[in-house]
Symmetry: C2
Subunit: 241 residues, 2 copies
Protein backbone atom coordinates (compact mmCIF):
# COMPACT_ATOMS: atom_id res chain seq x y z
CA UNK A 1 0.00 0.00 0.00
CA UNK A 2 1.09 3.55 -0.74
CA UNK A 3 -0.06 6.44 1.47
CA UNK A 4 -0.30 10.08 0.46
CA UNK A 5 -0.11 12.37 3.49
CA UNK A 6 -0.62 16.13 3.20
CA UNK A 7 1.60 18.13 5.56
CA UNK A 8 -0.70 20.44 7.47
CA UNK A 9 0.24 23.40 9.61
CA UNK A 10 3.07 24.91 7.57
CA UNK A 11 3.02 28.72 7.79
CA UNK A 12 3.08 31.00 4.76
CA UNK A 13 6.59 30.63 3.31
CA UNK A 14 8.96 33.63 3.31
CA UNK A 15 12.40 34.25 1.83
CA UNK A 16 15.12 32.50 3.80
CA UNK A 17 12.84 29.85 5.30
CA UNK A 18 14.38 26.41 5.74
CA UNK A 19 11.66 24.29 4.17
CA UNK A 20 13.21 20.98 5.16
CA UNK A 21 13.38 22.01 8.80
CA UNK A 22 9.80 23.26 8.71
CA UNK A 23 8.55 20.03 7.13
CA UNK A 24 10.48 17.92 9.67
CA UNK A 25 8.80 19.84 12.48
CA UNK A 26 5.32 19.41 10.97
CA UNK A 27 5.32 15.68 10.15
CA UNK A 28 7.29 12.61 11.19
CA UNK A 29 9.00 11.20 8.10
CA UNK A 30 10.68 7.80 7.80
CA UNK A 31 13.36 6.30 5.55
CA UNK A 32 12.08 5.83 2.00
CA UNK A 33 9.41 8.55 2.16
CA UNK A 34 9.11 10.84 -0.83
CA UNK A 35 8.53 14.46 0.20
CA UNK A 36 6.89 16.41 -2.62
CA UNK A 37 7.25 20.19 -2.24
CA UNK A 38 5.35 22.67 -4.40
CA UNK A 39 7.55 24.90 -6.54
CA UNK A 40 5.84 28.04 -5.25
CA UNK A 41 6.94 27.32 -1.71
CA UNK A 42 10.49 26.58 -2.85
CA UNK A 43 10.67 29.74 -4.96
CA UNK A 44 9.37 31.92 -2.15
CA UNK A 45 11.86 30.43 0.30
CA UNK A 46 14.63 31.15 -2.21
CA UNK A 47 13.47 34.70 -2.88
CA UNK A 48 12.68 33.96 -6.54
CA UNK A 49 10.00 36.65 -6.72
CA UNK A 50 9.71 39.87 -8.69
CA UNK A 51 7.79 43.03 -7.96
CA UNK A 52 5.73 44.06 -11.01
CA UNK A 53 6.30 47.73 -10.18
CA UNK A 54 10.05 47.32 -10.64
CA UNK A 55 9.86 45.75 -14.12
CA UNK A 56 10.45 47.91 -17.19
CA UNK A 57 8.78 46.16 -20.14
CA UNK A 58 10.63 45.86 -23.45
CA UNK A 59 9.02 46.60 -26.82
CA UNK A 60 8.57 42.87 -27.43
CA UNK A 61 6.82 42.46 -24.07
CA UNK A 62 4.48 45.37 -24.92
CA UNK A 63 3.73 43.91 -28.33
CA UNK A 64 2.97 40.45 -26.97
CA UNK A 65 0.90 41.79 -24.09
CA UNK A 66 -1.42 43.74 -26.39
CA UNK A 67 -4.30 45.48 -24.68
CA UNK A 68 -5.44 42.66 -22.45
CA UNK A 69 -2.31 41.68 -20.53
CA UNK A 70 0.26 43.33 -18.29
CA UNK A 71 3.42 44.02 -20.34
CA UNK A 72 5.49 43.85 -17.14
CA UNK A 73 4.39 40.26 -16.62
CA UNK A 74 5.24 39.46 -20.26
CA UNK A 75 8.67 41.00 -19.71
CA UNK A 76 9.26 38.73 -16.70
CA UNK A 77 8.16 35.73 -18.78
CA UNK A 78 10.47 36.61 -21.68
CA UNK A 79 13.42 37.01 -19.30
CA UNK A 80 12.79 33.46 -18.05
CA UNK A 81 12.42 32.12 -21.61
CA UNK A 82 15.23 30.40 -23.51
CA UNK A 83 13.03 29.66 -26.54
CA UNK A 84 9.42 30.50 -27.40
CA UNK A 85 7.93 27.11 -28.37
CA UNK A 86 4.44 28.34 -29.26
CA UNK A 87 2.50 31.53 -28.64
CA UNK A 88 -0.96 32.91 -29.19
CA UNK A 89 -1.79 36.46 -28.14
CA UNK A 90 -0.30 36.95 -24.70
CA UNK A 91 0.02 33.20 -24.07
CA UNK A 92 3.64 32.05 -24.32
CA UNK A 93 4.60 28.37 -24.19
CA UNK A 94 8.27 28.60 -23.35
CA UNK A 95 11.32 26.49 -22.93
CA UNK A 96 12.94 27.53 -19.67
CA UNK A 97 16.64 27.71 -18.79
CA UNK A 98 16.22 24.16 -17.41
CA UNK A 99 14.82 22.80 -20.70
CA UNK A 100 11.27 22.42 -19.36
CA UNK A 101 8.45 23.42 -21.70
CA UNK A 102 5.56 25.11 -19.93
CA UNK A 103 3.18 28.06 -20.05
CA UNK A 104 4.64 31.47 -19.17
CA UNK A 105 8.08 29.93 -18.48
CA UNK A 106 6.68 29.04 -15.07
CA UNK A 107 6.10 32.68 -14.08
CA UNK A 108 2.98 32.87 -11.95
CA UNK A 109 0.98 35.46 -10.13
CA UNK A 110 -1.34 33.18 -8.19
CA UNK A 111 -0.16 32.28 -4.71
CA UNK A 112 2.37 35.10 -4.87
CA UNK A 113 3.33 36.45 -1.43
CA UNK A 114 1.52 39.74 -2.02
CA UNK A 115 -0.35 41.67 -4.67
CA UNK A 116 1.87 42.89 -7.51
CA UNK A 117 4.35 40.05 -7.10
CA UNK A 118 5.39 37.33 -9.54
CA UNK A 119 6.87 34.00 -8.55
CA UNK A 120 9.60 32.55 -10.81
CA UNK A 121 10.86 28.96 -11.05
CA UNK A 122 13.88 28.09 -8.88
CA UNK A 123 17.18 28.57 -10.71
CA UNK A 124 18.13 24.94 -10.01
CA UNK A 125 15.30 22.88 -8.54
CA UNK A 126 17.51 19.78 -8.19
CA UNK A 127 19.72 21.82 -5.87
CA UNK A 128 16.59 23.00 -4.03
CA UNK A 129 15.49 19.37 -3.60
CA UNK A 130 18.95 18.35 -2.35
CA UNK A 131 18.97 21.19 0.17
CA UNK A 132 15.53 20.23 1.51
CA UNK A 133 16.57 16.58 1.65
CA UNK A 134 19.72 17.44 3.63
CA UNK A 135 17.75 19.62 6.07
CA UNK A 136 15.27 16.79 6.65
CA UNK A 137 18.05 14.28 7.27
CA UNK A 138 19.73 16.68 9.66
CA UNK A 139 16.59 17.30 11.68
CA UNK A 140 14.87 13.91 11.59
CA UNK A 141 17.64 11.45 10.76
CA UNK A 142 15.40 10.05 8.00
CA UNK A 143 16.71 9.31 4.52
CA UNK A 144 13.93 10.63 2.27
CA UNK A 145 13.71 11.52 -1.40
CA UNK A 146 12.50 14.98 -2.40
CA UNK A 147 10.56 16.05 -5.48
CA UNK A 148 9.95 19.72 -6.32
CA UNK A 149 6.68 19.84 -8.27
CA UNK A 150 4.88 22.32 -10.50
CA UNK A 151 1.58 22.26 -12.42
CA UNK A 152 2.23 22.00 -16.17
CA UNK A 153 -0.21 21.96 -19.05
CA UNK A 154 0.29 19.29 -21.70
CA UNK A 155 -0.07 19.36 -25.48
CA UNK A 156 -3.20 17.50 -26.63
CA UNK A 157 -4.69 17.08 -23.15
CA UNK A 158 -6.74 19.53 -21.14
CA UNK A 159 -5.96 20.46 -17.58
CA UNK A 160 -2.69 20.56 -15.73
CA UNK A 161 -0.95 17.76 -13.90
CA UNK A 162 1.80 18.23 -11.38
CA UNK A 163 5.19 17.12 -12.66
CA UNK A 164 8.71 17.04 -11.22
CA UNK A 165 11.03 19.99 -11.89
CA UNK A 166 13.63 18.95 -9.30
CA UNK A 167 14.53 15.68 -7.60
CA UNK A 168 16.95 14.40 -4.98
CA UNK A 169 17.40 10.87 -3.71
CA UNK A 170 15.54 9.06 -6.46
CA UNK A 171 15.94 8.19 -10.13
CA UNK A 172 13.18 10.15 -11.93
CA UNK A 173 12.81 7.53 -14.68
CA UNK A 174 11.98 3.92 -13.93
CA UNK A 175 13.55 1.82 -16.65
CA UNK A 176 11.49 -1.26 -17.51
CA UNK A 177 13.29 -1.88 -20.79
CA UNK A 178 14.51 -5.41 -20.84
CA UNK A 179 12.06 -6.65 -18.22
CA UNK A 180 9.68 -9.31 -19.50
CA UNK A 181 5.91 -9.21 -19.21
CA UNK A 182 3.75 -12.21 -18.34
CA UNK A 183 3.81 -13.62 -21.88
CA UNK A 184 7.59 -13.36 -22.03
CA UNK A 185 7.73 -10.26 -24.24
CA UNK A 186 10.52 -7.88 -23.55
CA UNK A 187 9.00 -4.45 -22.94
CA UNK A 188 10.53 -2.10 -25.48
CA UNK A 189 9.63 1.54 -24.92
CA UNK A 190 8.95 1.35 -21.24
CA UNK A 191 10.53 4.10 -19.27
CA UNK A 192 8.09 5.35 -16.66
CA UNK A 193 8.33 8.97 -15.54
CA UNK A 194 8.15 7.93 -11.89
CA UNK A 195 8.94 11.40 -10.52
CA UNK A 196 6.10 12.92 -12.56
CA UNK A 197 3.66 10.28 -11.31
CA UNK A 198 4.78 10.99 -7.74
CA UNK A 199 4.25 14.72 -8.26
CA UNK A 200 0.77 14.12 -9.69
CA UNK A 201 -0.15 11.75 -6.87
CA UNK A 202 0.88 14.35 -4.30
CA UNK A 203 -1.37 16.91 -5.99
CA UNK A 204 -4.37 14.65 -5.26
CA UNK A 205 -3.85 15.41 -1.56
CA UNK A 206 -3.42 19.15 -2.02
CA UNK A 207 -6.22 21.45 -3.05
CA UNK A 208 -4.43 24.14 -5.05
CA UNK A 209 -6.16 26.98 -3.27
CA UNK A 210 -5.69 25.36 0.14
CA UNK A 211 -2.05 26.17 0.72
CA UNK A 212 -0.67 22.70 1.45
CA UNK A 213 2.84 23.11 0.02
CA UNK A 214 4.24 19.72 1.07
CA UNK A 215 2.96 16.17 0.77
CA UNK A 216 4.60 12.93 1.93
CA UNK A 217 4.24 9.74 -0.15
CA UNK A 218 5.00 6.61 1.86
CA UNK A 219 5.51 3.12 0.46
CA UNK A 220 6.38 3.92 -3.17
CA UNK A 221 9.15 1.86 -4.76
CA UNK A 222 11.98 4.30 -5.43
CA UNK A 223 15.68 3.79 -5.94
CA UNK A 224 18.86 5.44 -7.15
CA UNK A 225 19.40 9.14 -7.60
CA UNK A 226 19.31 11.59 -10.49
CA UNK A 227 18.24 14.93 -11.88
CA UNK A 228 14.96 16.25 -13.23
CA UNK A 229 16.95 17.11 -16.37
CA UNK A 230 16.62 13.43 -17.27
CA UNK A 231 12.89 14.08 -17.80
CA UNK A 232 13.60 16.48 -20.67
CA UNK A 233 13.53 14.91 -24.15
CA UNK A 234 16.81 15.66 -25.94
CA UNK A 235 16.30 18.04 -28.88
CA UNK A 236 17.35 15.49 -31.52
CA UNK A 237 14.70 13.02 -30.33
CA UNK A 238 11.94 15.59 -29.89
CA UNK A 239 9.25 15.22 -32.58
CA UNK A 240 7.41 18.32 -31.34
CA UNK A 241 10.07 21.02 -31.54
CA UNK B 1 -4.89 10.66 3.79
CA UNK B 2 -5.15 8.92 0.44
CA UNK B 3 -4.37 5.21 0.10
CA UNK B 4 -3.33 3.42 -3.08
CA UNK B 5 -4.14 -0.30 -2.90
CA UNK B 6 -3.05 -2.73 -5.62
CA UNK B 7 -5.61 -5.47 -6.28
CA UNK B 8 -3.71 -8.74 -6.04
CA UNK B 9 -4.86 -12.17 -7.14
CA UNK B 10 -6.68 -11.33 -10.36
CA UNK B 11 -6.18 -14.09 -12.95
CA UNK B 12 -4.97 -13.47 -16.49
CA UNK B 13 -7.87 -11.69 -18.22
CA UNK B 14 -9.69 -13.40 -21.11
CA UNK B 15 -12.38 -12.29 -23.57
CA UNK B 16 -15.78 -12.14 -21.91
CA UNK B 17 -14.48 -11.72 -18.37
CA UNK B 18 -16.54 -9.48 -16.10
CA UNK B 19 -13.79 -7.29 -14.72
CA UNK B 20 -16.02 -5.52 -12.19
CA UNK B 21 -17.16 -8.81 -10.72
CA UNK B 22 -13.59 -10.11 -10.57
CA UNK B 23 -12.37 -6.94 -8.83
CA UNK B 24 -15.25 -7.05 -6.34
CA UNK B 25 -14.28 -10.61 -5.46
CA UNK B 26 -10.61 -9.72 -5.00
CA UNK B 27 -10.87 -6.57 -2.83
CA UNK B 28 -13.45 -4.95 -0.58
CA UNK B 29 -14.29 -1.55 -2.02
CA UNK B 30 -16.25 1.22 -0.30
CA UNK B 31 -18.28 4.22 -1.46
CA UNK B 32 -16.03 6.91 -2.93
CA UNK B 33 -13.20 4.58 -3.94
CA UNK B 34 -11.66 5.12 -7.36
CA UNK B 35 -10.95 1.83 -9.15
CA UNK B 36 -8.25 2.30 -11.79
CA UNK B 37 -8.19 -0.50 -14.37
CA UNK B 38 -5.38 -0.91 -16.90
CA UNK B 39 -6.49 -0.59 -20.53
CA UNK B 40 -4.84 -3.87 -21.46
CA UNK B 41 -7.09 -5.78 -19.07
CA UNK B 42 -10.18 -3.96 -20.37
CA UNK B 43 -9.26 -4.57 -24.01
CA UNK B 44 -8.60 -8.26 -23.41
CA UNK B 45 -11.92 -8.67 -21.60
CA UNK B 46 -13.62 -6.97 -24.56
CA UNK B 47 -11.83 -9.07 -27.15
CA UNK B 48 -10.04 -6.04 -28.64
CA UNK B 49 -7.11 -8.12 -29.83
CA UNK B 50 -5.78 -8.93 -33.29
CA UNK B 51 -3.75 -11.88 -34.49
CA UNK B 52 -0.72 -10.69 -36.49
CA UNK B 53 -0.99 -13.69 -38.79
CA UNK B 54 -4.45 -12.56 -39.95
CA UNK B 55 -3.41 -9.02 -40.92
CA UNK B 56 -2.70 -8.20 -44.59
CA UNK B 57 -0.46 -5.12 -44.63
CA UNK B 58 -1.19 -2.29 -47.05
CA UNK B 59 1.46 -0.58 -49.15
CA UNK B 60 1.56 2.31 -46.72
CA UNK B 61 2.10 -0.05 -43.81
CA UNK B 62 4.96 -1.75 -45.68
CA UNK B 63 6.52 1.59 -46.52
CA UNK B 64 6.34 2.86 -42.94
CA UNK B 65 7.59 -0.41 -41.48
CA UNK B 66 10.74 -0.39 -43.58
CA UNK B 67 13.17 -3.20 -42.87
CA UNK B 68 13.16 -3.03 -39.10
CA UNK B 69 9.48 -3.32 -38.17
CA UNK B 70 6.59 -5.71 -38.78
CA UNK B 71 4.35 -4.26 -41.54
CA UNK B 72 1.37 -6.16 -40.08
CA UNK B 73 1.76 -4.24 -36.82
CA UNK B 74 1.98 -0.95 -38.78
CA UNK B 75 -1.20 -1.94 -40.61
CA UNK B 76 -3.01 -2.46 -37.32
CA UNK B 77 -1.74 0.93 -36.09
CA UNK B 78 -2.89 2.72 -39.25
CA UNK B 79 -6.37 1.16 -38.99
CA UNK B 80 -6.64 2.59 -35.45
CA UNK B 81 -5.37 6.00 -36.59
CA UNK B 82 -7.64 8.93 -37.41
CA UNK B 83 -4.73 11.29 -38.07
CA UNK B 84 -0.97 10.85 -38.09
CA UNK B 85 0.25 13.62 -35.81
CA UNK B 86 4.00 12.96 -36.14
CA UNK B 87 6.05 10.08 -37.45
CA UNK B 88 9.67 9.05 -37.71
CA UNK B 89 10.62 5.78 -39.35
CA UNK B 90 8.21 3.15 -38.00
CA UNK B 91 7.20 5.31 -35.03
CA UNK B 92 3.72 6.79 -35.49
CA UNK B 93 2.27 9.33 -33.06
CA UNK B 94 -1.42 9.06 -33.85
CA UNK B 95 -4.71 10.65 -33.03
CA UNK B 96 -7.10 7.81 -32.25
CA UNK B 97 -10.83 7.57 -32.99
CA UNK B 98 -11.35 8.94 -29.45
CA UNK B 99 -9.21 12.02 -30.08
CA UNK B 100 -6.34 10.83 -27.89
CA UNK B 101 -2.82 11.44 -29.17
CA UNK B 102 -0.42 8.62 -28.38
CA UNK B 103 2.27 6.37 -29.82
CA UNK B 104 1.09 3.62 -32.19
CA UNK B 105 -2.57 4.64 -31.72
CA UNK B 106 -2.45 2.61 -28.52
CA UNK B 107 -1.71 -0.65 -30.34
CA UNK B 108 0.59 -2.75 -28.20
CA UNK B 109 2.26 -6.10 -28.31
CA UNK B 110 3.50 -6.25 -24.72
CA UNK B 111 1.16 -7.95 -22.26
CA UNK B 112 -0.77 -9.44 -25.17
CA UNK B 113 -2.55 -12.69 -24.31
CA UNK B 114 -0.22 -14.77 -26.47
CA UNK B 115 2.66 -14.46 -28.92
CA UNK B 116 1.64 -12.94 -32.26
CA UNK B 117 -1.24 -10.95 -30.76
CA UNK B 118 -1.80 -7.19 -30.65
CA UNK B 119 -3.97 -5.41 -28.10
CA UNK B 120 -6.04 -2.42 -29.32
CA UNK B 121 -7.64 0.36 -27.29
CA UNK B 122 -11.27 -0.19 -26.25
CA UNK B 123 -13.75 1.26 -28.77
CA UNK B 124 -15.36 3.36 -26.03
CA UNK B 125 -13.43 3.31 -22.76
CA UNK B 126 -16.04 5.48 -20.99
CA UNK B 127 -18.56 2.72 -21.70
CA UNK B 128 -16.04 0.17 -20.43
CA UNK B 129 -15.65 2.17 -17.21
CA UNK B 130 -19.42 2.44 -16.77
CA UNK B 131 -19.83 -1.29 -17.24
CA UNK B 132 -17.15 -2.09 -14.65
CA UNK B 133 -18.69 0.45 -12.27
CA UNK B 134 -22.12 -1.12 -12.64
CA UNK B 135 -20.75 -4.61 -12.07
CA UNK B 136 -18.97 -3.46 -8.90
CA UNK B 137 -22.13 -1.80 -7.57
CA UNK B 138 -24.12 -4.94 -8.35
CA UNK B 139 -21.70 -7.25 -6.56
CA UNK B 140 -20.54 -5.11 -3.65
CA UNK B 141 -23.21 -2.44 -3.25
CA UNK B 142 -20.45 0.18 -3.26
CA UNK B 143 -20.68 3.37 -5.31
CA UNK B 144 -17.20 3.71 -6.78
CA UNK B 145 -15.75 5.71 -9.64
CA UNK B 146 -13.79 3.91 -12.36
CA UNK B 147 -10.87 5.12 -14.46
CA UNK B 148 -9.52 3.13 -17.42
CA UNK B 149 -5.82 4.00 -17.70
CA UNK B 150 -3.10 3.65 -20.29
CA UNK B 151 0.58 4.61 -20.43
CA UNK B 152 1.12 7.57 -22.77
CA UNK B 153 4.30 9.32 -23.76
CA UNK B 154 4.28 13.11 -23.67
CA UNK B 155 5.82 15.74 -25.95
CA UNK B 156 8.86 17.40 -24.35
CA UNK B 157 9.12 14.99 -21.41
CA UNK B 158 10.76 11.59 -21.29
CA UNK B 159 9.04 8.52 -19.99
CA UNK B 160 5.41 7.55 -19.93
CA UNK B 161 2.82 8.41 -17.33
CA UNK B 162 -0.48 6.65 -16.95
CA UNK B 163 -3.45 8.78 -18.01
CA UNK B 164 -7.21 8.30 -18.16
CA UNK B 165 -8.77 7.10 -21.42
CA UNK B 166 -12.15 6.30 -19.87
CA UNK B 167 -13.99 7.44 -16.75
CA UNK B 168 -17.26 6.76 -14.95
CA UNK B 169 -18.57 8.32 -11.75
CA UNK B 170 -16.21 11.27 -11.58
CA UNK B 171 -15.56 14.55 -13.37
CA UNK B 172 -12.14 14.13 -15.03
CA UNK B 173 -11.29 17.84 -14.75
CA UNK B 174 -11.24 19.66 -11.43
CA UNK B 175 -12.16 23.25 -12.10
CA UNK B 176 -10.37 25.68 -9.80
CA UNK B 177 -11.13 28.70 -11.97
CA UNK B 178 -12.74 31.33 -9.85
CA UNK B 179 -11.43 29.97 -6.56
CA UNK B 180 -9.18 32.39 -4.71
CA UNK B 181 -5.73 31.61 -3.43
CA UNK B 182 -4.37 32.74 -0.04
CA UNK B 183 -3.51 36.24 -1.26
CA UNK B 184 -6.98 36.70 -2.73
CA UNK B 185 -6.02 36.20 -6.36
CA UNK B 186 -8.52 34.45 -8.52
CA UNK B 187 -6.78 31.47 -10.13
CA UNK B 188 -7.13 31.86 -13.86
CA UNK B 189 -5.92 28.84 -15.82
CA UNK B 190 -6.48 26.23 -13.17
CA UNK B 191 -8.20 23.16 -14.43
CA UNK B 192 -6.54 20.11 -12.95
CA UNK B 193 -6.63 16.86 -14.92
CA UNK B 194 -7.73 14.92 -11.86
CA UNK B 195 -8.42 11.67 -13.73
CA UNK B 196 -4.90 11.71 -15.21
CA UNK B 197 -3.36 12.28 -11.78
CA UNK B 198 -5.43 9.38 -10.41
CA UNK B 199 -4.25 7.13 -13.26
CA UNK B 200 -0.62 8.10 -12.64
CA UNK B 201 -0.96 7.56 -8.89
CA UNK B 202 -2.37 4.08 -9.48
CA UNK B 203 0.63 3.24 -11.67
CA UNK B 204 2.90 3.84 -8.65
CA UNK B 205 1.37 0.75 -7.06
CA UNK B 206 1.61 -1.41 -10.16
CA UNK B 207 4.88 -2.65 -11.59
CA UNK B 208 4.21 -2.79 -15.33
CA UNK B 209 5.66 -6.26 -15.70
CA UNK B 210 3.92 -7.54 -12.58
CA UNK B 211 0.44 -8.00 -13.93
CA UNK B 212 -1.57 -5.95 -11.42
CA UNK B 213 -4.35 -4.70 -13.70
CA UNK B 214 -6.46 -2.96 -11.04
CA UNK B 215 -5.65 -0.50 -8.28
CA UNK B 216 -8.01 1.11 -5.73
CA UNK B 217 -7.46 4.71 -4.63
CA UNK B 218 -9.20 5.51 -1.36
CA UNK B 219 -9.73 8.97 0.10
CA UNK B 220 -9.33 11.14 -2.99
CA UNK B 221 -11.71 14.08 -3.37
CA UNK B 222 -13.82 13.28 -6.42
CA UNK B 223 -17.23 14.51 -7.53
CA UNK B 224 -19.61 14.68 -10.45
CA UNK B 225 -19.46 12.57 -13.57
CA UNK B 226 -18.16 12.97 -17.08
CA UNK B 227 -16.24 11.55 -20.01
CA UNK B 228 -12.55 11.15 -20.77
CA UNK B 229 -13.32 13.08 -23.97
CA UNK B 230 -13.24 16.21 -21.79
CA UNK B 231 -9.50 15.62 -21.42
CA UNK B 232 -8.94 16.15 -25.15
CA UNK B 233 -8.00 19.71 -26.15
CA UNK B 234 -10.38 20.94 -28.83
CA UNK B 235 -8.67 21.36 -32.22
CA UNK B 236 -9.19 25.13 -32.34
CA UNK B 237 -7.41 25.61 -29.00
CA UNK B 238 -4.59 23.16 -29.72
CA UNK B 239 -1.29 24.97 -30.29
CA UNK B 240 0.48 21.71 -31.16
CA UNK B 241 -1.57 20.38 -34.08
Amino acid sequence: MISILPVYGLPEIAAGDELGAMISAAIQVVDGDVVVVAQKAVSKAEGRVLRLAEIEPSDEARRRAGDSSDPRKLEAILRETKRVVRSRNALVIAETRHGFVCASAGVDQSNAPEAGMLVLLPLDADASARRIRDEIRERSGADVAVVVSDSFGRPFRRGTTDVAIGVAGLAPLLDLRGSADRAGYVLSSSQVALADELAGAADLARGKADGVPAVVIRGAAISGDGSAAELVIPAERDLFR
